[in-house]
Subunit: 204 residues, 2 copies
């Protein structure tokens, strides 16, 4: 089958330094991912779009799923920053609103990546090492500062808080039944900050 | 290709009433699922094991994934009952411990089913209608009685509590990073019942 050479997205073909090729490849993968879904991210298509060699892609990523995941992560990293204004409740609200907005826009891509990871060990490892663990660490870091500032009580397992905020959002994404909205994010925070019990029942 | 007729698991072949065939089919699918994983659940293999006709299976289930899911659900339904002793915190603890134990034993099967649902619309619909929605309803029903008994304060969104208990467990299953233990279940409940904030910060 003959194949036309597609237009390359960046100039200097064949002479570009590796970091530049890598950036172009991730951008091309992100384009495909967000416009056509995870199945469209093949080494063939991404290489063509990025003007990169397929061999290079095989060298850099263990599977197209792993490439798709890294492209996703690069694209959303800034959106998912953890602010620190000194007020943990306000900062969690800001961060969770951004996260929920992101899942609103790109939820199906995220769900597909996590879904594929359940039966793709290479992708599962990439997701765990490059996304889940570092994202949890960033959240726990911010929560630790809040505890030091006296805004979270001693004895609370901060890792558990992560599961009850971001994890609860993933639950609505992956086992859909109820809307994933900023109101939901606010309710998640309220339950943890105010407790779900009447004050009279709050014996430790 | 010639194929030997496999031994049938139940007597009365060819004359069994439909509910009996259905039960045998689900039992055979559950056997395969728990011993060899979701990919082993094909209409071919299940029909052979159950002594049922493949045509019947095609008629009853839209996909092998949907059959695997129903088999899973039938097998675990009793384990996942919601007790009502009148003490919501105790009952949630009992139920979540059973749930965590189940995910411990069969976590990979559950993860595979939910993972597959992200790119199998038929399975996604079955999972949502037959599992996610009814399980949520059972939990909310029990939480509603607790609210009526004054054990949960007015204004708490009970659906959100579901995401912060069971959803948090699914999060540790699907994006693994931290252990999924009964201690974790206890910490989930403690955060919601005691709030994560020091008492002095608990202004509404």
């Amino acid at each position: 089958m003959t194949r036309q050479t597609p237009p390359r997205l960046t100039p200097g073909r064949g002479r570009r330094p590796a970091p530049e090729v890598r950036r172009a490849t991730l951008a091309a993968a992100a384009d495909l991912l967000f416009s056509q879904g995870i199945r469209s991210v093949t080494f063939e298509k991404v290489a063509a779009r990025a003007g990169a060699s397929k061999v290079t892609l095989y060298k850099w990523w263990p599977s197209p799923g792993a490439l798709a995941f890294e492209a996703y992560f690069e694209a959303v990293q800034d959106t998912l920053a953890f602010p620190d204004t000194g007020d943990i409740r306000r900062d969690l609200t800001t961060q969770l609103h951004a996260f929920v907005d992101l899942l609103h826009r790109n939820g199906s891509v995220v769900a597909e990546i996590i879904g594929a990871a359940q039966s793709d060990p290479g992708l599962a490892t990439a997701l765990s090492e490059q996304y889940t663990r570092p994202r949890r660490d960033l959240a726990v870091e911010r929560l630790t500062r809040a505890r030091e500032a006296g805004q979270i009580r001693e004895g609370v397992h901060l890792e558990v808080v992560v599961d009850q905020l971001w994890g609860a959002c993933y639950h609505r994404l992956l086992l859909p039944a109820e809307p994933l909205t900023t109101d939901f994010a606010d309710a998640l925070i309220a339950n943890l900050f105010l407790a779900i019990t009447p004050t009279t029942h709050r014996a430790r």
